[in-house]
């Protein structure tokens, strides 16, 4: 989440297991795990947790977050930052609708699409 804060900006808060009302019911070794985190800026709210279900974490490819940027500078900066250490699956390029578009999988396995279009479509 600190990585996403560096990429996207915003206010980040964490609640650990140890700080929660139910911490007594949880194993001591988990008390520093993140129960709930929130990164909030003017356009998005990302929530996250270390509390993975019993089957473990499975990284899928069915969901991406799509960022519509408001300037070419913003899209280039966001793309560069988010793809650091990850994979640039679709480098930014001009599409047939005269938009700049790109896709990436970040170093944590989360997928992003970025789009910038001069005027609203």
């Amino acid at each position: 989440m600190n990585f996403y804060k560096r990429c996207l900006g915003g206010k980040l808060i964490f609640q650990t297991v140890g700080e929660s009302d139910n911490s007594g019911k949880m194993p001591a070794k988990m008390k520093d795990c993140i129960l709930h985190a929130e990164l909030r800026n003017e356009k998005l709210l990302i929530m996250a947790t270390d509390m993975v279900s019993e089957g473990g974490l499975i990284k899928g490819n069915s969901v991406s977050l799509m960022l519509n940027c408001h300037s070419e500078k913003e899209i280039r900066e966001c793309y560069q930052k988010l793809s650091q250490g990850g994979e640039q699956t679709h480098p930014l390029k001009l599409t047939f609708r005269n938009a700049i578009f790109g896709g990436l999988t970040d170093k944590y396995g989360n997928r992003w699409m970025l789009n910038y279009q001069d005027k609203d479509h």
Partner: protein, 144 residues
């Protein structure tokens, strides 16, 4: 305008899935569905095989609070293969418990991996479901 949307992939049934979401959220597509056959030919891009021309290239649907879900079909001809994970969940915060229950019931139909709606210690009426198309939804309703 700067904004964030959620982009969903399906293995060839995007149109069916989005018609389902349209009926669940009672909203209309932001613009007509764009199919692969609608893409103008581009240099260096091979034409789509016949069976993929009618697949969805792009569809957008507003859900709650102005947020849009968008979707596209993965293309076998390009080696795309859908993998359902558990690392991403779409969180919905409806205004009322009634609306939360209605949406939860509708999205859960034919789905799996459900945590029924319950009042939680953080003050929300909360539940999770994996819908029939493999998309995971979470509910947090803060109104009593």
């Amino acid at each position: 305008m700067s904004k964030v949307s959620i982009y969903l992939n399906f293995q060839g049934n995007t149109e069916e899935a989005f018609n389902f979401y349209k009926s669940v959220f009672n909203t209309e597509f932001s613009s007509p569905i764009m199919y692969n056959r609608d893409i103008p030919p581009m240099e260096g891009m091979p034409p789509f095989p016949e069976n993929e021309k009618g697949k969805v290239m792009h569809v957008a649907l507003p859900i709650l609070g102005g947020t849009q879900i968008m979707g596209t079909d993965m293309l076998e001809s390009m080696g795309h293969k859908l993998k359902i994970g558990n690392n991403t969940t779409i969180n919905l915060e409806p205004d009322t418990r009634e609306e939360t229950e209605r949406l939860f019931k509708a999205l859960s139909e034919g789905g799996s991996d459900t945590m029924p709606l319950m009042d939680q210690f953080w003050g929300a009426y909360w539940g999770v479901t994996l819908d029939r198309y493999g998309i995971r939804w979470m509910f947090n309703c803060y109104t009593k």
